[in-house]
Every structure is written in structure tokens, then in C-alpha cells.
Symmetry: C2
């Protein structure tokens, strides 16, 4: 108990060598003899030495710490399925490379709240990963434009590395599959228009249908917030009450799709016999609950991993790293919520 922290100086004394030698021995520098290294390490172990991150950071200007900025409407993205999976993967990769993960985003209501950039400088993050809906936030902008290495997820900035999931192909695959199952009256309860993700999905939706020669009907297009079951419920109800209702409804995400499913069931309709539904994201439950959801499974693992990997490249080689936009494809999960209504 109350054990004092042991420093290089303690080892130095116990070993009878200088502090410099201890430091170099522990860091395996080449100008220290094998014998000394061994002796130093042994004593360090015996004394219970642990390096001090703060001192190292102060001296080297390297914190081995990465800041993460994950914000969604509900504040921290931690409870957000998609983000939390991406973050989990990011964290694993970063830790493999010797980095720790610290959150940047905090309570904005706090009086002495720092800006994101201030926070990042304060903590001396070697790099920063950003994934959030509110990319229009000036604080986010300030952070991105700073000289701290940064990668963004699902949003592209000029001259910054971005990892984006392939919404174009995702929606195209999904719509095409639905089309192939015989559907022509396809509704889309999409997310709100102010995000890049929504934009590209919508574009892809229109383009794909156009390519397939299916006219898009305005009354089938309705905006509803992401992950909002209630709003999706209402939207679905309205869609079902149309004079000529759709045969298939696509949703912004699996969560919303569940809301839609509730509405459908409440009307006494069966899925997929009476009406088909499709989600997006491929969250765990969507692939577990029957009817298995027809959805696009995002490769959160790859997104997180690549983001970490690219960020670390950038940290280690700020000038030499290729600035690029990396697109990560999802995969179509056919599930069983979209019926085949082709005539036999």
C-alpha cells in the first residue's frame, strides 16, 4: 500500500549506473552493453518499475494516445450500434499498435468546456478520429483544419483522410435485389437530408431505380430521423394507407425498420407475405430476430481497423502518407424480410 512510484532514478541508484544509462537500457538503445541491459531490466522488474506516460509525453511530444470524437444527436455515440462497433474495431487496432484511446467529446453544457481542438492539444493526442453527424459544427471544422493528424469516418473533407462506407453500392445492391424479387413499388423511409450519408444513399436510390427503369414516386419518399422507431412507425402507417401502397419499404437503418415492422404488424399484415421491408446497417439483432432482416451489413470491423491503421500511418509519417478517401463495401444480407413476388 501507499507504495511510492519507482522512477529511473531509483533504478539508477540500485544499479550503480546513471539515469541516462537506465533509460537507454530499458529502451534497448544500441550503445548499451548486453550485460548492463540485462541487469537494469532485472532490477527494474524487481523494483516494480513502470514508465511514466506524462514524463515521456512531455519530453518526446508523443502521447501514444489517440483522441476519438464520436457524436450523434443523442450526444455520445457510445450507445449507437454502428458507431460503437466501428469504435470497438478502431480501438482494437490502435491498441495493437501501442496507442490508447481517449474521448474528446464532452458535456457541452459545462462552463469551462474546452473546444474539441483545445482538448486535443491539451491532451497532446498524436492523432484524432472523427465520426459524427454534425460535421457542420464549427468546432469540428476547427479540429479538422488543425495540424493534428486526423481521419474522418463517413464524411469527406478536402485534403484529409476519410473512411466512408460504400453507400452508393450498398443502396444499389439492396435496391437491385429488391427489384429482382419482383418489386416495383418501393418506398424509402430515408434519413434526414442534412448529412452526407443520406445524400449519397438518396442519390444512389434514384440512380439505381432510374437505371432499372422504375419511376420513383414522390409519395413513396419520406424523411425520418435515423434510429427513430416512432417516426418510422408513423411514416410506415401513412405509407400503408396510401391508395396504392408500396410492396416493399426500405428504411434508413435497421432500428427504423423495426419501427416500421411494428406498424405493419399492427395493421395485421405479415412480413414478408403481405409487405416486404429492408433495413440498413446489419445490427446484431436484425440478423437474429425473425424474420431475418434484409439489410446491408456494414463492415464496421474494416472501417474501424482501416481508420486506425491510416491514422497511425499519418502520425508516423505526416508528410509521406497518401491522403485518400477509402471506401469500404458492405454486404447484402438477403435475410427473409423481402418476399419474392415474381410471377411463376
Amino acid at each position: 500500500m501507499a507504495r511510492r512510484i519507482v522512477s529511473l532514478k531509483d533504478i539508477s541508484k540500485a544499479c550503480g549506473v546513471s539515469i541516462a544509462t537506465v533509460s537507454k537500457a530499458l529502451n534497448d538503445h544500441s550503445d548499451i552493453s548486453k550485460e548492463t541491459k540485462e541487469r537494469v531490466r532485472e532490477i527494474a522488474d524487481k523494483l516494480g518499475y513502470h514508465p511514466n506516460a506524462a514524463a515521456q509525453a512531455l519530453k518526446t511530444n508523443r502521447s501514444n494516445n489517440i483522441g476519438v470524437l464520436f457524436v450523434d444527436e443523442a450526444n455520445s455515440g457510445l450507445t449507437h450500434d454502428y458507431f460503437s462497433h466501428v469504435l470497438d474495431s478502431f480501438k482494437k487496432k490502435a491498441e495493437q499498435e501501442g496507442f490508447d484511446i481517449t474521448f474528446i467529446n464532452g458535456d457541452k453544457s459545462r462552463s469551462n468546456k474546452m473546444s474539441y481542438l483545445s482538448h486535443a492539444i491539451y491532451r497532446g493526442f498524436d492523432g484524432v478520429v472523427i465520426a459524427c453527424v454534425e460535421f457542420s459544427d464549427p468546432e469540428v471544422d476547427e479540429l479538422i483544419k488543425s495540424n493534428i493528424p486526423v481521419v474522418t469516418i463517413d464524411h469527406t473533407f478536402y485534403n484529409r483522410i476519410a473512411i466512408v462506407s460504400d453507400n452508393i453500392k450498398g443502396i444499389r445492391d439492396l435496391v437491385t435485389y429488391i427489384y429482382e424479387q419482383g418489386h416495383r413499388k418501393i418506398a424509402y423511409v430515408h434519413g434526414l437530408e442534412n448529412t452526407a450519408v443520406t445524400q449519397s444513399r438518396l442519390t444512389s436510390f434514384y440512380n439505381t431505380l432510374q437505371d432499372l427503369g422504375v419511376p420513383v414516386r414522390d409519395e413513396y419518399m419520406v424523411a425520418s430521423p435515423y434510429r427513430n422507431t416512432e417516426k418510422a412507425f408513423e411514416a410506415t402507417t401513412r405509407l400503408l394507407e396510401l391508395p396504392d401502397p408500396p410492396t416493399c419499404i426500405m428504411y434508413s437503418d435497421d432500428f427504423a425498420a423495426f419501427g416500421g415492422i411494428n406498424a405493419i404488424r399492427q395493421k395485421g399484415l405479415r412480413i414478408p407475405e403481405d409487405i416486404s421491408v429492408a433495413g440498413y446497417d446489419g445490427i446484431e439483432l436484425a440478423r437474429r430476430i425473425s424474420p431475418l432482416m434484409t439489410t446491408i451489413v456494414q463492415d464496421t470491423d474494416k472501417i474501424g481497423r482501416v481508420a486506425a491503421s491510416k491514422l497511425i500511418d499519418l502520425i508516423n509519417n505526416p508528410k509521406g502518407t497518401l491522403i485518400e478517401q477509402i471506401v469500404v463495401e458492405g454486404t447484402l444480407e438477403k435475410g427473409e424480410s423481402v418476399a419474392n413476388i415474381n410471377p411463376v
Copy 2:
């Protein structure tokens, strides 16, 4: 770009006062004149000064950083509904109090992997919060027994602060409600026995039924891992094939319950008309998908908040803080997955 970091020294020069004065001015010490403080702050702002956490930590032995150790079987608890909600709440509270959050648990496969305790000492965490299933891990034990302020979640240790959800009352409430709905043949697909959570839930299950005068039938008790839909599916199938099947099945958690629901539906049975189902935790989807799950909603918000608050108390007053076990009650969500089968 490539902006050099500005330090107290820069302000000191620009202001024509000593570094000490600058430091004290910025920290609002009482022995600095009002005029000087204002001038210093103004110049600090103009120069774009940000304090340096590493230097502060080095000098003061205070990192304003809290380490979190969240581990479940699937490695990091980040994607775990219950944990991620607790963590989210913990983070909010901690940040309000000026602390940042950094993960302790890393990739165990890494060669130069530090122990949890080493990691905590290395980073100089002011305190640590632990929530994980594997409390038998010797590394966890080492961390808990160290002299770093620590609170644990859902597991009690001697002489350490613990925040635990009230599993006794939760199960009692749930079982009682099910009983009141007329059920006497109640099965329980509970978690694996090696955790404290399972133990207390099981005990409470037995006790409550005994108090109600309902005999517990061995063939209705089956162990299945938490959050495992497949295993719950199998267990449910077996339960349904019993000569005298239960009228209601309780599950270890909502996730497992969904697996059970799949099994039930596959047999062509309806919920709750043909058989009743109850979950535990109250995850978001369980309260959104119909039939609304009968479950115990854990107060993750309070658990996280109290954990943070107690940990910070402990950090600020290591000797004077009451070591206690705080029990947080959940609430019964009646939902609609348990039918009333009382005779009319």
C-alpha cells in the same frame, strides 16, 4: 499550420512577468493582482495558449484521467448494450467533473502487453472503474487490490466501493408479476453460473417461487450464456418439447429472449397467447419491438452516474470516503409478452 505550441514561457515573455506569475494568474491564485491576471489571460488568449496535460500531470501527480476496464467475453464491452449504456452515463458524469476517460483493456494477444495495473500506473489514472464478467482474472484482482482508487460495477469486493444493480429485487419483481398473471409453470433460461450476477438472480428466483409456494422444477432450469441467441433458441426448443412445457419462459437477458422468441415462433406458437416470455435488461429494441418485452429495465443511467460520482469522491478524498456497496434498482416493464392466464 505547423504552429508551435505556446507555453507559459511565451506568455511570460510577452507579458514581462515571470513564468510563476503566469501560472498563478491562469490558475486564479489569490496572490496575483487583478490587473496582472487580466493582462495575462488576455495575452494567453491572443497567443492561443493551451495548458499541457502531460506537464501538469507530471508535476501534480494528477492526470484528471480515469481508466475504464470493461471486458466481456467478446473482449471489449463497447458493443455490449448494457455496458455501453453504463459507460456512456459514467463518461458524462466524469466529464462534467473535469475528468477524461481512457480505456485500460487492450489486446491481450500483444507481446509487450502491460498488465491492467501497469497500464493504469503508466497512464497515471487518478482512478479506475471496472465492469466485467471475468472478475476471477488475476490481473483484475491485482488492479483492484492496488492503491489506485477504484469502483467496481456489478461485482462486490471486500473493502472496495461497488455499484450493483438490484438483481434480487429485479428477479423478485419479475417473477411475482409473472405469478400474478397466473403462471405457475415458469422456466428460467439463466446465465452461466460462474458470475455473481447469475448467482444472485438464481437465488432470488428460487426464493421468490418458494415464498409464493410454487415448486421449482429442475427440467425448467437451464443454463445458457448471456446474450447468446442461438443457445437460447436451442434451450427453448427443448423446453417446448417437454411433456409438460412451461407457460412462461424467463431469459437471462433480452438478447437471449429474442433467440427464444425465434424458437417459439418457429414452432408456430404465438407470444403471448400460446406462451409467455420475459427478458432482462430492458435494452432499447426490447422496448420497441412488438410484442413489447416484459423485462426489468436496468437503470444504467444511475449506475454509471453513481459509479463516476463515487469514484471521484474517492479520488478527491481517499481516506474520508465511505466504502459502500450501492444497490441500484431496476424497474419492471410489463410490456406485452407475458399473458394473463388467470381464470375469469
